[in-house]
């Protein structure tokens, strides 16, 4: 693979959805993080070859949000901008699409990222309501309208939650949380283990915040009424195993194990990285922070989509002759605690590694101090389109801090896929 360098990256704080539209539209988030990142660059925004933005749920008024963000960030009329969508990995797909364009020599300097404002996913009219309304608009006479009024039923007004549609697999009909229940069942993961893992995520984010480990990647946001958003706001001091144990199962009601507390949070956020080839590095005098060594996509049963990281990361390790401990820092996106724990269990299982991954034996265990060391989406939140970019950027930050060399960012994808990216620090 032709070398692709990560020059720098930045993201917004991830803002938890408070059950009403958040303070920023997705393009606001993308613009604010991107313009701050571009400010750090010695080149002008107009020097970019293209802007690629992953977004799982663009709002109806900014469907090609990649172009909207490019224009709003001051990239000028002549820099193309486009949007990619691979559900939860949209923000990793944008990076891979940049790699493609660089590989064939079409681009040498790309801004790639991901964004979503899940708090703004709309409520929709039901089909029954839409049908009634279209009949109403078609009705010309008073009589016809009067007849329609008698056919109206209050339940027509019940909205369809766009976010619930988005979090339901359209092929197998399971909510994402139910696919995680499947993994918990298959790998025998207890509620206690899930809650303990979730508490760990919160604790790690809190200590990372205290030590200022996110300072380099977070761009503070200001809204129009004098509020500053400087940090990820979904993390909680009181997310202890004891407190998490009190929450009710959300997806398989009553007798399930997956709760809001051991799932990732519904969140708004955006993240970007600047990617460059050797040639662009030389042209603009850039100082790369890291290099993307490899990328892999994989697919699996949608009902077990959470194992995606296992299927995507393993081929990369194989290709480069690496064992699990040759990776100095792992970021496995925390869609659900059960799902991360299932990935770990799969790699530890000789049978799974042999039968599913074609390995001679178990791959082994990721040391606890190399996995999601600053927490993950359970505490920070999972603005679907943005997470792929965030974990690639963050694994690089971890390598820089710990002095490690190789990092692996992997993410599970609703619909039954996985994505993984191998990153190396550049001195």
């Amino acid at each position: 693979m032709k070398p692709v360098y990560i020059i720098d990256g930045a993201r917004t704080p991830f803002l938890k959805s408070r059950n009403r539209p958040g303070p920023f539209a997705a393009s606001d988030l993308a613009t604010e993080a991107g313009r701050a990142l571009l400010l750090r660059m010695p080149f002008a925004p107009t020097d970019l070859d293209e802007v690629i933005l992953g977004c799982a749920a663009p709002a109806v008024d900014e469907v090609n949000i990649g172009r909207v963000a490019a224009l709003r960030m001051g990239c000028g009329l002549r820099v193309p901008g486009w949007t990619v969508m691979r559900n939860c990995a949209s923000g990793m797909q944008s990076i891979d699409s940049a790699i493609d364009a660089m590989a064939i020599g079409r681009s040498s300097l790309v801004l790639a990222g991901g964004v979503d404002a899940l708090s703004r996913v709309p409520l929709l009219f039901s089909d029954a309501m839409v049908g009634w309304l279209s009949a109403w608009y078609a009705a010309k006479t008073f009589g016809a309208r009067a007849a329609l009024v008698t056919r109206f039923r209050p339940h027509f007004l019940a909205p369809v939650l766009g976010i619930m549609k988005g979090l339901t697999d359209p092929v197998v009909g399971l909510l994402m949380g139910q696919t995680a229940e499947n993994l918990a069942w298959r790998f025998d993961i207890s509620r206690e283990a899930m809650d303990a893992y979730s508490a760990r995520s919160h604790a790690h984010v809190l200590s990372a915040q205290r030590e200022g480990r996110f300072a380099r990647e977070i761009v503070p946001l200001y809204d129009g009424s004098g509020h500053l958003y400087a940090a990820d706001d979904g993390v909680r001091e009181d997310s202890t195993p004891q407190n998490l144990a009190k929450l009710k199962p959300f997806f398989d009601r009553k007798y399930g194990n997956i709760t809001a507390g051991n799932s990732s949070q519904i969140t708004d956020g955006g993240a970007w990285v600047v990617l460059a080839t050797d040639e662009a590095v030389a042209r603009h005098g850039l100082t790369p922070r890291g290099r993307i060594v490899d990328c892999q996509w994989a697919a699996l049963d949608p009902a077990e989509m959470g194992l995606g990281p296992v299927y995507a990361a393993t081929p990369i390790l194989k290709r480069h002759g690496l064992g699990i401990t040759d990776i100095d820092a792992w970021e496995i996106n925390e869609a659900f605690a059960a799902q991360v724990l299932a990935c770990l269990a799969a790699w530890k299982s000789e049978a799974f590694c042999r039968d599913e991954l074609g390995l001679p034996g178990a791959l082994g265990e990721i040391p606890d101090d190399r996995l999601n060391v600053d927490g993950g989406a359970i505490a920070i939140g999972h603005p679907v389109g943005a997470s792929g970019t965030r974990i690639v950027l963050h694994v690089l930050n971890v390598l820089e801090r710990t002095g490690g060399r190789r990092g692996l960012a992997a993410i599970c994808i609703g619909g039954g896929q996985g994505g993984a990216m191998l990153v190396e620090r550049v001195d």
Binding site: L39, R40, P42, M73, P220, Y222, G224, S225, G226
Partner: protein, 646 residues
């Protein structure tokens, strides 16, 4: 003067429409001089012989339709007969236009002011182009004169008396959409279909707009009286009849003479003779000229500034940054941490909302204003403005860092009001790069910006800074680096004297009343409270050579009563307003006691060459301190007083 026949160009199209294009070959903007009005009438004569199916009147200039009457020509008029002739020429021309047999439409793109709007009003229809640059208004009142070419007659008939009087009495302009909403324009369209719209309006030839009920009542005789009386009460609160006769004349012309400025008999206060008898109109026209002169300082052929970096997000720095973003600059705003930037972004959001209204334009302005704690914007900036607290060491530290990171061609500027530029520039490897760009508070309202030349300042950097000030629609005034520059220097003795009067036991309200009666927009004590008493004290100490600081000022600053910002100064402040008691009757000598020190300081500043000439002293005092514009500035006023005394 010879009549240049090429100002108006006439062509005809296949639909039988005539297209009359106004394009003065001798000027950047279209204005109506005697010659161009005569030529316009000649064009109407020509059309009369072979009447078209309709007439489109449009501009050949890209910057606007018509800016109004030729102010240079008007300013040169000194006797009533010449003024009467000028009014009559335009009045007759537009009466003639209003009476033509064929329909006429004014196609208005860009500014359409004064006589230009009166021409448009005389057409049967108006099509306005929906762009931010399209502005319509009758600003004559701001020059101390009245719209004499039919504006007072035709505008109320189109939009009703209340809206018309609002425009006539304030002189403010409106945009294309507002014009359409008021009924001033028949159509408001994007430029791509403007010509087609003008054609379509003429070919449809529908009945001209009629004012509907109940607005039509405002044009009846009792309606006129009622509306004019109410408007007069509002005017009395803003401008006294003695200082500003023009709004009262406009009301009289509307009430009794159907807008015909030639109708009032000699001796009537609304007659042209009466308006010319006071120096107000002449002084206001002079002020207009001074404003044009200040604008010209920003026209030097210097590279345009498009990216600005502002350091210091306090009241001044934050507002400078927001203003620059509002006016189209890409701005990075730096302070020590994110929290300190927060209030600046809240104020910016308020500014954008109130000035732009359109959501997309508000968003674009917000996108141009970028928080930048790390100072990454310095490397991209054409201009870096430092606006931190007044401490020479802190400023030196800022510029030492800035010089390392800024582009070699970037202009470095300080907004200091009290520290000599040379003291700051000494830290720079290239001290000639530093200039002063001194804004006044509140940035969004104060038109003047002093461009301060230090001993070593590079003239090219000064020219570029002045061009920047013009680009953000402010008025640059070149001044020499000396304590207080021009504006604060002239203002300080006036404020200090006012406070000394309070020391002596005169009520603050009484002092302010004397100044307002003279024509100041606000009294000196209220102004000091608004500026901040701590700042007044610092400036007073810097500028007062030997005089003691007013006792009441020092006491208040010691007690932390700093004025508007702390809620209490000389006055108690509530909801941004000074709570005033009843003013006493000022002593006969109080006014001159307040004004004379200002005049004396203005003379001293001129003698020291702080600005190039006396006109610029007056310009600085008017646009920087609010010195009563109808008096023409402190030096002009003093010269007139001397004349009167002789």
């Amino acid at each position: 003067m010879t009549v240049d026949r090429s100002s108006w160009a006439l062509s005809r199209d296949g639909d039988g429409l005539a297209w009359l294009t106004f394009d003065r070959p001798d000027a950047a903007a279209n204005t109506l001089s005697a010659a161009t009005v005569d030529e316009f009438v000649a064009m109407l004569d020509l059309l009369e012989r072979d009447a078209p199916r309709g007439l489109v009147i449009r501009s050949g200039k890209s910057n606007g339709f018509i800016a109004g009457a030729d102010v240079g020509e008007f300013g040169a008029i000194h006797d009533a007969a010449a003024a009467r002739a000028l009014v009559e020429r335009g009045w007759r021309a537009f009466e003639r236009l209003a009476g033509v047999r064929y329909p006429a439409v004014a196609l208005v793109r860009g500014f359409c002011l004064g006589g230009g709007l009166e021409l448009a009003l005389a057409c049967r229809y108006r099509v306005v182009v929906d762009e931010p640059a399209t502005r319509l208004g009758l600003p004559e009142v701001m020059l101390g004169i009245v719209p004499g070419w039919g504006g007072i007659k035709r505008l109320p008939a189109l939009v009703g008396a209340p809206a018309a009087l609002d425009l006539l009495l304030t002189g403010r302009t409106i945009d294309a959409r507002r014009a359409r909403k008021l009924g001033l324009a028949d159509e408001c369209v994007p430029p791509r279909i403007m010509a087609n719209t003008a054609r379509g309006v003429l070919l449809a030839a529908s009945a001209p707009r009629r004012l509907g009920f109940p607005l039509s009542l405002t044009l009846t005789t009792p309606g006129r009286r009622f509306v004019a009386d109410r408007a007069a009460k509002a005017v009395e609160k803003r401008a006294s009849r003695a200082h500003y006769p023009a709004p009262y004349a406009i009301l009289e012309l509307f009430r009794r003479y159907d807008g015909n400025a030639l109708a009032p008999p000699v001796g009537n206060p609304a007659a042209i003779d009466a308006l010319l008898a006071t120096p107000t109109a002449r002084n206001l026209i002079r002020v207009f000229g001074l404003q044009e002169r200040l604008k010209s300082f920003g026209k030097a052929d210097a590279a345009a500034v498009t990216r600005v970096h502002v350091i210091g997000a306090g009241a001044m720095g934050g507002d400078i940054a927001a203003w620059c973003a509002l006016r189209g600059m890409t701005v990075t705003l730096q302070d020590q941490d994110a929290v300190r930037l927060t209030p600046a972004f809240a104020r910016a959001a308020t500014l954008f909302k109130s000035r732009l209204r359109d959501n997309r334009r508000i968003r674009d302005a917000s996108d141009r204003l970028i928080p930048d704690v790390a100072g990454d914007g310095i490397a991209h900036a054409d201009l870096v403005i430092e606006a931190i607290f007044e401490n020479v060491d802190a400023k030196r530290a800022v510029f030492a860092e800035v010089e390392k990171r800024a582009r070699a061609d970037a202009v470095l500027a300080t907004n200091t009001s009290s520290i000599p530029l040379e003291d700051i520039a000494s830290v720079l490897a290239a001290p000639q790069r530093l200039v002063g760009v001194h804004f006044f508070n509140p940035v969004a309202r104060m038109m003047l910006v002093e461009i301060v030349a230090g001993r070593e300042s590079d003239p090219a950097a000064l020219a570029r800074a002045a061009g920047f000030v013009r680009a953000i629609d402010r008025l640059p005034l070149p001044v020499k680096s000396a304590p207080g520059f021009l504006v604060n220097r002239v203002l300080a003795p006036y404020l200090m004297t006012a406070m000394r009067c309070v020391d002596e036991g005169i009520a603050a309200e009484t002092v302010d009343r004397a100044a307002v009666a003279f024509g100041m927009p606000v009294g000196p004590i209220e102004l000091a409270d608004a500026v901040g008493l701590d700042i007044c004290l610092a400036v007073g100490r810097m500028l007062a050579k030997d005089a003691a600081v007013p006792r009441t000022l020092a006491e208040r600053v010691d007690a932390g009563r700093l004025g508007k910002k702390s809620g209490q100064g000389y006055y108690l402040w509530k909801d941004g307003k000074a709570q005033k008691g009843v003013a006493g009757v000022p002593d006969a000598g109080l006014t001159s006691r307040l004004i004379d020190p200002m005049v004396a300081e203005a003379r001293a500043a001129l003698a020291e060459g702080i600005v190039a000439d006396a006109d610029l002293v007056d310009a600085g005092a008017i646009f920087g301190t609010g010195f009563a514009p109808f008096r023409g500035g402190p030096l002009h006023y003093a010269a007139n007083e001397d004349e009167r005394a002789d």
